[in-house]
Amino acid sequence: MSVDLKTTYLGLKLKNPLMISACPLTADVDRLRRLEEAGAAAAVLPSLFEEQIEHDAEEISKAHEFGTESFAEALTYFPESDDYRTGPEEYLETISKAKKAVGIPIIASLNGASRGGWLRYAKMMQDAGADALELNVYFVAADLAMTGRDVEARYLELVAGVKQSISIPLAVKLGPYFSAMGNLGARLVEAGADGLVLFNRFYQPDIDLESMEAQPRLHLSVPDELSVPLQWIAILRGHIEASLAATGGIHDAEGLLKALLAGADVGMITSVLYQKGIHQVGSILAGMQQWMEAKEYESVEQLKGSMSLENCPDPSAFQRGNYMKTLTSYVGRAI
């Protein structure tokens, strides 16, 4: 029996529900090609960072100015070049190259925290051939005077701003730390989001005990992390007119299946590729197909959302009841 793996995400018809999330792997055309060959249905390019654009421009200007016009023998220290690609040029080239190299949809990603002049890059990405845009919003409200409402307003303004500048579909990738995730999700869709990508994994600081310095640290995801996206995808499924993507914690076919069952249109992977290699794409897809065949599912469409909050036999598991049940049944190893 053949299973129909096709799905639709942001209006894009995908051959299966397994996507590669934004990571450095997708910037490399050769790797991208191998990912496609392994079966990936679409890929999100690594993010173009708002800060990076400004930072690079500032650094180049600083390097050209620092120490200059001070000493008669060394009025400057670097040769002048008129051709610095401190803006999005390199990124736009990556989009074009990726589009030429592979047949799967390519989603560009823009990482920002505020509405700024750099929003014009969204349009440039569209013009460069991106099939859709993923807006990766990362904002740490370190200012104690800032309220949750203020933060949400920033997000909504940003999404609306980007949406206005493009005609391709727009996905919004979020972190999970909102007091009313569902409400925010719905309002983002109202503001123009065609899909939500749940959830962003932040690189939070760590403390180096030797140097006594705070340093950003990169952790690869672990399968346990999937439970948070599962919960919110299950809650949102059926209540918003937008696609849903699960990301963070999908490491195998089981993870992908769970995401789909909860209501995701697609599942995105990265960490497992770093751990096990690109061939893992094929293994996950094969495993999913095997499970579906064994369970006699006909298609992914049939599967999607079948265990959402609306459709699952025990909705309390996605709500507060889940918490009580887990806590009372837990026995730690050390106890």
Partner: protein, 1213 residues
């Protein structure tokens, strides 16, 4: 045809443009002030800009000017149109090939920014000393006197040389023209094509060597034919001047600008004429323009083609009425009958007035029937000395005298040989409708770039003529810049500084008490001051001397808080566009609205191309904010201030420092007479201590509670402004309030106190110490044992503390543990407060070496950063200890420093031998015990050296009582009985490139020499040109497309001799390794090479993090730490670096030198970084294997070191 446009450029850009278009090959080498001439074509070539032949010129950096000349010679012989650019000693290095090129009648043009040749001192500034040294080479010499002419003569030279077959030096005055920004009409590419005759180009190619039409050139000739063959070129020289005039005429037809070999300007019936060449022409012409309408019969004869000298054209150009001629030479030939131009004039006149076959008498009616004019010669403008209309008037007046002075000088006061002319400095030719502005700024505040931009705005957008000339500091940290800017409805001919300003701007309020900015202000001028004080408060913050000048001259005073405006616009300390906006508002040169629009345009052009949208917006905000902050100040009619200007040096400074150096510090060096200056270039050391520049905003403050007494802060301090001392607690009795001390940790000085003290007025605030400090507060980790704090609130306390600190005795050198960081830092540095860049990576090594060996050091220093911060007047950082001992230092040249140092060694060894011989001869009178002790002390430790010093003192006391010449002679040589530490210091440009041949020879000498290479991987002093030390993938000048080749492994080359000690060290990565390797190198009685990794401003890094970058470099294998000690019998090679961790790319991307290429040419960058990683991996793999090699016993046999070993025995080692 393209339309010509007016551009505002400097002489170098004007010339480089022509050179780029006319040439196929450029073999170049950096030297000030011509470096820019090569940098521009290199950058243009990297961007693919083509010449008129449709190809991109090949711009190749060579290892020296000698190498460049050789490559040029070869390229010419093989048929390429080829050029180079140089100046000063660089031109002198080309002379051997220049003789060949001319001897072979080869068409080429060398563009020379005429610069002073180093004699009693180096000078980077302009005169004709270098080009005059080439007179005998057989090159044509064509001079430009302005920025416009530097372009025009460049193309005339390129065009004429092809026909004449005589090679050309096209020269113009260094800095005064090479760096003056002026408005010129730029030639189009079509113009250049029209001037270059392709038939002549093809003829040049046909003369080239080719196997298709084989020939041989460069034979050796014998007495039978050489002479005749040498004379065979005469027809070409005879024709050359005519050809030049023909091409000048062709140029005139094309552009309307008519030049002649000699051009006369002035009264048609002039009786007094000045003959002059170069930028001085404009000054004389400006004076003539004023004097002739006043009825004076004066004129100026401009010399353009100096060689081949056309006597007939010269005489013909003189007015027939001339009776008195003054020839001005911008060079000095000591001992000559007269300077070169003078001699040619005298010869021409005497030959022309006499009947003779050559050049032949002039036809009747051309003036030679009259009596021979009287000619005097004089010198002016050496090393860019100011040359003004006032001085020109003095020359004309001298010509009116019955007995005018021969060999006169003008512009200085010569109270020794009394040759100088007096002049009335108040004489001026400048008209009131000319804007004459002076801007005082700091190097870091963008003042110069803003003024450069203002000149461009006015020059290119209005009918006004514009001139900008910028004067820089001799120090690199906290350097003061002065911008001299003129705008005028007429062409601006005078190439001299602004002496009568109608606009003065002080961009830094701290200058008020140190720089006399208003002495040049005209009455009624505008004074714009950047100050945090508003119009109502600012008056009382001005020193009384400043207030008096404002009142006396009735200046219009304006104030702007540019720093606040900059902060509001998030611009940091960049106040350039703010001050520029205020200037346009106040000066009225062009309507302010238009000016602001143009400034914004320029900002967009500058930053827009670098992707800086945000920076553009910030600048716009600053420009808009500037006008709101600008306020006029109403001031009283009386001086009210209690503040006074600070004297340049303190009252307790020695007389020479006060009377001579102090004048230079106060920018009044021009007023010093000849007698004030040493006749042979010898200056006292230890004078930076008197120049309290107080340039830091923040200074490091020590917290004894947290301090672990590691000493790293002092070790890394580039300016020796953080000092450690251990002292007896009893000495604390006189300590001022606020002086901090804690208990000394360590067994050397039990019960003593310990202090870390900053010299607050000498610190540059670089922050290296803070970044390096490892001691953090337990409760507030960001607080360290050394933190930067704002200086002003702590200044009085820290000044008093430092003064007290300096009264504490230095520790007994024999008691410290010099192999530890702390021990090394308890030793007195004998290199302090240099003018190096804030955060310099080189100077900590030098300071450390002087701490170890300074009291017995001789240093030969290659030209470069280390010779500039080491020996650029006014003040010198090498200093003395309390006994008056310290390093004796000298700079010879760029290329010969290793040999220069070797010369020191040879001399010292010979003196030692002589002293030993005398000791032996006198042993019966001195006693065998003393003689034997003096001869046999190995002096390997501080104690042994101290004992030797005491014995020499004893010897010196005894010697006068002994009769005979031997005792007297030994007294003169006994100093050499104390072991000397001989060093050659220099950078990688010297060691890897220009000086490598000599250095290699010193390696082979086996002599007891120490060579310190301060490796910044770039020619730092001349602005960052690539050297063979530059790492793959780094952008540098002359490697605008990224350095393609692998970095040379200098250490391995030295190691291959087997008996050379080599150390590759990094103070930031492993200070213990560095200091032990330095000590081991010095202790080795053969040749030692230390390659010291030195971070640099030319890397595009935050200098405060220089030491961390060094650490990262070592960690990723970019800079391996190792040593090779020939004394080690089995494993002389020791690898001190661990296996590389992390990728080269990650390290590289933190530095602009690498990151720039990644941004401009990502594919090239990726390829070069990958190759760079391979270089690192392969090198480490190789070193790892070397570390395991057990040296074969045969290697231990004396080879090159044989002589050394023998000599060492003789000198008591």
């Amino acid at each position: 045809m393209e339309t010509r446009r007016f551009v505002t450029v400097d002489g170098n850009e004007a010339t480089a443009n022509i050179a780029h278009l006319c040439n196929e090959v450029m073999a170049i080498y950096p030297i000030t002030p011509s470096s820019g001439l090569g940098e521009l074509p290199d950058a243009w070539a990297a961007a693919g800009r083509k010449n008129i032949f449709g190809t991109v010129p090949d711009v190749v950096e060579m290892q020296s000017e000698a190498g460049a000349a050789g490559a040029v010679h070869g390229a010419l012989q093989a048929g390429a149109l080829t050029t180079t650019f140089t100046a000063s000693q660089g031109l002198l290095l080309m002379i051997p090939n220049m003789f060949k090129i001319a001897g072979e009648l080869t068409s080429t043009v060398f563009h020379v920014t005429a610069r002073t040749v180093a004699t009693h001192a180096l000078s980077i500034f302009g005169d004709h000393g270098d080009v005059m040294a080439c007179r005998s080479t057989g090159w044509a010499m064509l001079s430009s006197d302005s920025v416009q002419e530097s372009q025009d003569m460049a193309i005339i030279a390129h065009s004429a040389t092809l026909e004449a077959r005589v090679p050309f030096i096209h020269f113009y005055d260094g800095f005064r023209i090479s760096h003056e920004v002026n408005k010129i009409e730029q030639l189009t590419e079509d113009d250049v094509r029209a001037m270059i005759d392709m038939d002549l180009v093809n003829a040049h190619r046909q003369r080239a060597l080719s196997p298709e039409r084989p020939k041989l050139r460069g034979t050796a000739q014998n007495p039978d034919v050489f002479f005749q063959a040498r004379e065979a070129c005469n027809p070409f020289y005879a024709a050359c001047a005519g050809i030049v005039q023909k091409h000048m005429d062709k140029f005139a037809k094309l552009t309307g600008r008519q030049y002649h070999l000699f051009d006369y300007v002035g009264a048609p019936d002039a009786e007094r004429v000045i003959v002059v060449m170069g930028s001085g022409i404009g000054v004389v012409e400006e004076t003539v323009d004023k004097l002739v309408p006043e009825g004076q019969k004066v004129g100026v004869l401009k010399v353009r083609l100096f060689r081949p000298w056309d006597s007939r054209a010269f005489v013909a150009a003189l007015p027939k009425t001339v009776k008195h001629i003054a020839v001005l030479d911008r060079t000095k030939e000591p001992g000559a009958a007269g300077e070169p131009l003078y001699q040619d004039v005298v010869t021409s006149l005497s030959e022309s007035w006499a009947a003779g076959p050559h050049p032949g008498p002039l036809p009747k009616g051309e003036g030679t029937e009259r009596s021979l004019p009287r000619v005097i010669g004089g010198r002016y403008g050496l090393s860019s000395k100011e040359f003004t209309p006032a001085m020109v008037v003095a020359v004309y007046e001298e010509l009116s005298k019955a007995q005018p002075r021969q060999q006169f000088t003008v512009g200085i006061v010569d109270d020794v040989t009394k040759l100088s002319l007096d002049y009335d400095a108040s004489f001026s030719t400048e008209k009131d409708d000319m804007t004459r502005a002076l801007f005082f700024g700091l190097g870091s505040d963008g003042t110069v770039s803003a003024n450069r931009n203002s000149v461009k705005i006015v020059g290119e957008n209005t009918p006004l003529h514009a001139q900008g000339y910028f004067v820089y500091d001799s120090r690199k940290a906290g350097s003061v810049t002065t911008s001299h800017v003129r705008f005028s409805p007429r062409p601006i001919k005078g190439s001299y500084l602004v002496h009568r300003a109608n606009f003065v701007a002080c961009h830094q309020p701290q200058f008020l008490e140190r720089i006399d900015m208003l002495s040049t202000a005209d009455p009624g001028a505008t004074f714009l001051l950047n100050s945090i004080y508003g119009p109502d408060e600012v008056w009382d913050t001005l020193p009384a001397e400043v207030q008096k000048q404002i009142i006396d001259k009735k200046l219009k005073l304006y104030v702007v808080d540019a720093y606040q405006v900059a902060r509001d616009a998030q611009m940091g300390v960049r106040i350039n566009t703010i001050m520029q906006t205020c200037f346009f508002k106040l000066s009225g040169v062009i309507p302010p609205d238009e000016a602001i629009a143009r400034i914004k345009e320029a900002v967009k052009k500058t930053y827009g191309k670098k992707g800086g949208g945000k920076i553009v917006e910030q600048n716009y905000a600053a420009i808009d904010g500037a006008l709101a902050s600008l306020k006029e100040v109403k001031y009283p009619s009386q001086v009210t201030s209690k503040l006074h200007m600070v004297p340049p040096v303190p009252a307790h400074a020695p007389a020479f420092v006060k009377d001579v150096l102090g004048m230079m510090i106060a920018n009044r060096g021009d007023d010093l007479p000849v007698s004030a200056l040493p006749c042979d270039g010898t200056f006292p050391t230890g004078t930076t201590q008197y120049e309290k520049r107080s340039i830091a905003q923040d200074v490091p403050i020590w917290d004894p509670k947290i301090c672990t007494q590691c000493g790293i802060c002092s070790l890394v301090c580039p300016h020796a402004t953080i000092r450690l001392k251990a002292f007896d607690p009893a000495l604390l009795a006189g300590a001022p309030e606020g002086f901090k001390a804690t208990d000394y940790k360590g067994k050397e000085f039990p019960g003593w106190k310990f202090v870390v003290q900053v010299a607050p007025d000498d610190c540059t605030g670089c922050g290296l110490c803070v970044e390096a400090c490892p001691a953090k507060d337990k409760e507030k980790v960001k607080h360290k044992a050394i933190d930067l704090e704002p200086k002003v609130p702590v200044l009085d306390r820290e000044r008093a503390a430092y003064d007290f600190f300096m009264t504490l005795p230095d520790v007994d050198r024999s008691k410290v543990k010099p192999d530890t960081i702390k021990g090394s830092q308890l030793l007195l540095p004998l290199f302090e407060f240099s003018g190096a860049c804030a955060g310099c990576g080189e100077t900590p090594y030098i300071k450390l070496i002087t701490q170890f060996f300074g009291d017995r050091m001789l240093i030969g220093n290659a030209t470069g950063c280390s010779s500039i911060y080491g020996g650029n007047l006014p003040c010198t950082p090498y200093t003395v200890n309390h006994e008056g001992r310290g390093p004796s230092w000298s700079n010879s040249l760029f290329e010969d420093c290793a040999e220069f140092g070797l010369g020191f060694r040879l001399a010292v060894d010979q003196q030692i031998k002589y002293a030993h011989e005398l000791l032996r001869r006198l042993s019966s009178q001195l006693g065998d015990e003393l003689v034997s002790a003096l001869l046999n002390n190995k002096q390997e430790t501080e104690e042994e050296i101290a004992v030797q010093r005491a014995r020499v003192t004893d010897l010196n006391k005894r010697l006068p009582a002994i009769a005979g010449g031997d005792a007297k002679n030994l007294l003169a040589s006994s100093d050499y009985l104390i072991r000397k530490s001989v060093w050659s210091f220099g950078g990688d440009g010297w060691a890897y490139d220009i000086g490598f041949g000599g250095m290699d020879h010193v390696f082979a000498s086996g002599r007891d020499m120490n060579i310190l290479v301060l490796d910044t991987e770039v020619y730092s002093n001349t602005g960052g040109q690539a050297s063979k030390s530059t790492f793959r993938g780094a952008v540098a000048k002359f490697a605008a497309g990224g350095k393609g080749g692998r970095k040379k492994d200098l250490g391995m080359i030295a190691m291959s001799y087997g008996d050379v000690f080599v150390g590759s060290i990094s103070l930031g990565a492993n200070p213990m390794h560095a200091l032990r390797t330095i000590r081991a190198a010095e202790s080795y009685r053969g040749t030692s090479l230390l390659i010291a990794f030195s971070h640099c401003i030319g890397w595009g890094i935050d200098m405060a993090h220089g030491m961390e970058i060094q650490k990262d470099a070592v960690a990723c294998g970019y800079w391996p730490l190792w040593s090779f000690d020939p004394r080690e019998p089995s494993h002389p090679f020791q690898l001190a670096s661990k296996k590389p961790v992390g990728a080269f790319k990650d390290f590289a991307m933190k530095e602009a030198r690498f990151a720039m290429l990644a941004r401009s040419k990502p594919d090239d960058s990726a390829r070069l970084l990958a190759l760079g990683q391979q270089d690192i991996d392969k090198r480490y793999h190789f070193y790892e294997q070397l570390a395991g090699v057990d040296r074969a016993p045969a290697e231990a046999e004396p080879g090159n070191g044989e002589t050394k070993a023998k000599d060492a025995k003789e000198v008591g080692a």
